[in-house]
Symmetry: C2
Subunit: 514 residues, 2 copies
């Protein structure tokens, strides 16, 4: 029976279970955007996008590659071509099916205090998911491995602005494929107590990780059916296809009332029309078909609409992110999701090769788009670099600051006699200053967002301290957080049950690729 390498186990044992660290950060909290969302098109234009998507599903349809899925859709009344994978949907069928999507649901984790509200205008941030590489200033770029995987999980647990996991924060490529989902989920459950994510890579894998999420929560199968406890994302194979592993994930998750986010990967000019409205029409068609399928499998199963439309660099074909086109597509996707009353997911993304000014302006453009679209799940909120090909430790820290600032931006202004400050203005009068005013002294410690990465010292002091730029400071901060990290506690019986399950499945050979 394979075992986790000894060094990793020892390192884990040193991580005590007390709350970690001295770094000042915002509390683990629920953020709601109090401002009206940005609407990028009129109601009529939105309807035109909606109707065009329905027309796509009616006329062109979508390929469903799994025979069981076609069977389910045929029974539900879809037009299933007997000689191909093509399924066409009457608009009435789509509209009827999507009517059962819950607008808001709760996602549970093994720590009850980490449960998240998904929907409405609650905004949740996840760490980066699924990049093949890890990168940092001292170690350079390398294929993701168990150590980096663990370290990104530690950062995800440590920072309160990481509300839930969005997948493997880096692919642990040194874990054998048949066992990877077991080992990775065990580490996710042990190193964090936040909402977990399972990949829809075929039926065996998704069933394994659903079971592990159940064990970690110490709940019955019946309770699991009532309480979403793990989530997944299904990327359509744009244009207009859903493959077998994804469809198995959708079926098994929906049957068990676990949430699935359907996210078409519609890059305008590559896998979708070069016009942003056309790319969003296709995104919308694929999302509606996927969500309708989930509802047909199990009416009322929690579902999330994922927007991930961006443009490509037409010179190289590379995907671009955090662009003006991305911002508009994200806001348009959000507007569609609000029309349907679906929870919405979008992302904090960029296409830079370094955690530099480019990564930052593309990310902050993404952050404003997702927040002003009232995005319920901000995927890749922390650490994404290089179009998703790398997880960056320094970018993770930069993103914590960016997303904390967005969270603080969402704190509504309080307007009352105390905040209007007439007494303070009267006390100080023309030509004075407010540093010593009673009004200031009573509030100065909590009045403003206190950044942990930004350096506001004057130039000379900053220079004397080594002229460190924000990326270099982010490097130091992530190293310190890892050094200070304490893993969350886990009930011994639960840990043993998890271990026993993983051992049993290892002995059975895990889940070989089919």
């Amino acid at each position: 029976m394979a075992r986790r390498p000894r060094a990793e186990g020892k390192a884990r044992a040193r991580e005590r279970t007390s709350p970690a660290g001295s770094l000042k950060q915002l509390p683990f909290s629920t953020y709601r955007n109090p401002y009206a969302p940005i609407e990028v098109v009129s109601a009529d234009q939105l309807e035109a996008v909606h109707l065009a998507s329905l027309q796509v599903l009616e006329e062109i349809g979508m390929n469903f590659l799994l025979p069981e899925a076609k069977e389910i859709l045929k029974k539900a009344g879809a037009d299933v071509d007997p000689n191909s994978d093509r399924v066409r949907f009457d608009r009435g069928l789509i509209e009827q099916a999507i009517a059962t999507v819950p607008p808001v649901f709760t996602l549970h984790s093994r720590n009850p205090e980490r449960a998240r509200e998904i929907g409405g205008n609650a905004i949740n941030v996840t760490s980066i998911a699924s990049p093949p590489n890890a990168i940092d200033m001292s170690g350079g770029r390398r294929p993701g491995n168990r150590t980096d995987f663990g370290n990104f999980l530690r950062l995800s647990q440590y920072f309160n602005i990481c509300h839930m996991l969005g997948g493997y924060p880096v692919e642990p490529t040194d874990m054998p494929v048949p066992m990877r989902h077991l080992e990775a989920m065990q580490m996710m459950l042990e190193l964090t107590d936040k909402v977990v994510f399972g990949y829809s890579l075929g039926r065996d894998r998704i069933l394994d990780v659903i079971e592990m999420a159940r064990i970690a929560r110490g709940i019955s199968e019946e309770q699991l059916l009532r309480e979403p406890s793990i989530w997944t994302i299904v990327n359509t194979n744009s244009p207009l296809q859903l493959d077998i592993p994804m469809l198995w994930g959708m079926i098994e998750m929906a049957k068990r009332n676990q949430p699935v986010c359907v996210t078409p990967f519609t890059l305008a000019g590559a896998m979708a029309p070069v016009t942003m409205p056309g790319a969003v029409v296709q995104q919308n068609a694929e999302a509606l078909a996927g969500i309708a399928f989930l509802q047909i499998v199990n009416p009322g199963a929690p579902a999330v609409y994922g927007g991930f439309t961006s443009n490509v660099d037409m010179k190289t074909g590379s995907p671009a992110f955090g662009t003006p086109e991305y911002a508009k597509a994200t806001l348009l996707g959000a507007q569609l999701a609000r029309r349907y009353n679906f929870p919405f997911r979008a992302s904090n993304v960029n296409a830079s090769n370094a955690p530099d000014a480019q990564a930052t302006y593309e990310s902050v453009n993404s952050a404003w788009s997702v927040v002003m679209g009232h995005t319920n799940i901000v995927m890749h909120g922390l650490g994404w670099l290089e179009g998703g090909l790398s997880a960056s430790f320094e970018k993770f820290i930069i993103d914590v600051e960016i997303m904390q600032m967005m969270a603080q931006f969402m704190e509504p202004l309080v307007i009352d006699d105390a905040t209007l400050g007439l007494d303070a203005i009267r006390e100080v009068g023309p030509g004075g200053h407010f540093f010593a005013a009673q009004h200031t002294l009573e509030r100065y410690e909590t009045a403003f967002y206190a950044p942990f990465l930004s350096d506001w010292r004057n130039y000379e002091t900053w220079q004397d301290a080594g002229s460190l730029d924000a990326t270099t400071r982010a490097h130091q901060i992530y190293k310190k957080v890892l050094a200070d990290f304490r893993a969350p506690s886990m009930d011994v019986a639960v840990a043993e049950e998890l271990g026993a399950f993983v051992s049993k499945r290892r002995e059975e050979g895990g889940a070989p690729m089919q």
Copy 2:
């Protein structure tokens, strides 16, 4: 008679007058925000802020340090204290005076194509103004000088997203003070053909630069009275004071129908209450008093409401910029300006010591705030660093990219049959790709914003090219732009008249500090 150093003159002679450069950029254009502005408070809350400001002006009042100004205000019916500088304003007087502010006006420059619309939802970007230092990667930080001043003017002229000048992009500290306004304005007028700015540093200086703006346009004094041709900003000496040089500038500019932007510098916790609503109440009181004064001097004179409220770092007292508090204060200021139907000015600012990730996230937060507040003049749009103590060449380039992306974000989505792309989706079908679709081929060259700083090549290609981060690339770009620069043409007679005016004023000793 003093002369500009010979080397500078020679370098200038080499700058030919053809349109410059090969760098791909957006055209010189007028951008309007098609999306509804973000409202950070309700209508009732906004009214509470407004009423509190009126109460400040009625009860506490403001100090006007110039006797001539007090005389003007006394005649207009303000309550002028005979024993101090204090002036109190009845709310009726304020509301009557501000009713004559034009909601939109045109600002002219010596090139008719550069005229700008100020007001409505037109958004204009200026380069940085007034920092004492210049900084770049190769030369480090140094007191602003004539060479850097000229180079920032060249960048301001070259980049189309710089719609107008906002002042000296760096203080030319090596120009003798009595002559500085003359030499600096001559360089601004020769190296750029965009809207110019004059500083309100006493009566002589503002009259000199108004005259130079008139000469550069080749217009009569009567035409100047009809056509705003130079603008200025007046920062109140918060809290609640206006000093003598500023008041002279206001009087002389308003009398000649030239626009004045009244911008209180209300740092919450320092020169204003520590609560952001309180700081904005004070900002609003000071802005209303200043704008009312302009209208009393000359009803209908163009005026702009300036928002510059931010918070301080309560640990060091340093100003902070691009913070969540700054974003909310800016949007609240914009909301007030819309209530009064005034043109609004805010800024693209940050408090970083380097053109790094911090400078960038603080700047992009500022950029979204100003754009989503429908800010008509985005001051310090390009090049600001270190809380305004340095003009950064690299940051200038980064900001061009940031502001171009915001401009592109403001291009509304077109929704029609062609953009909805049903034919393309039909042509490609499930499982295909759009690279070779007719719909793509017809549009791919212009479909998306093409960045000039962002590097979207894959990691390996980027690494092979030297792994240059965005700041290093910005350094290379600014050097290249300066090497390619061609000054705009100027009529020989106009150039001679300008030179003669400057010579005459030099011989008279310029404008010595009083």
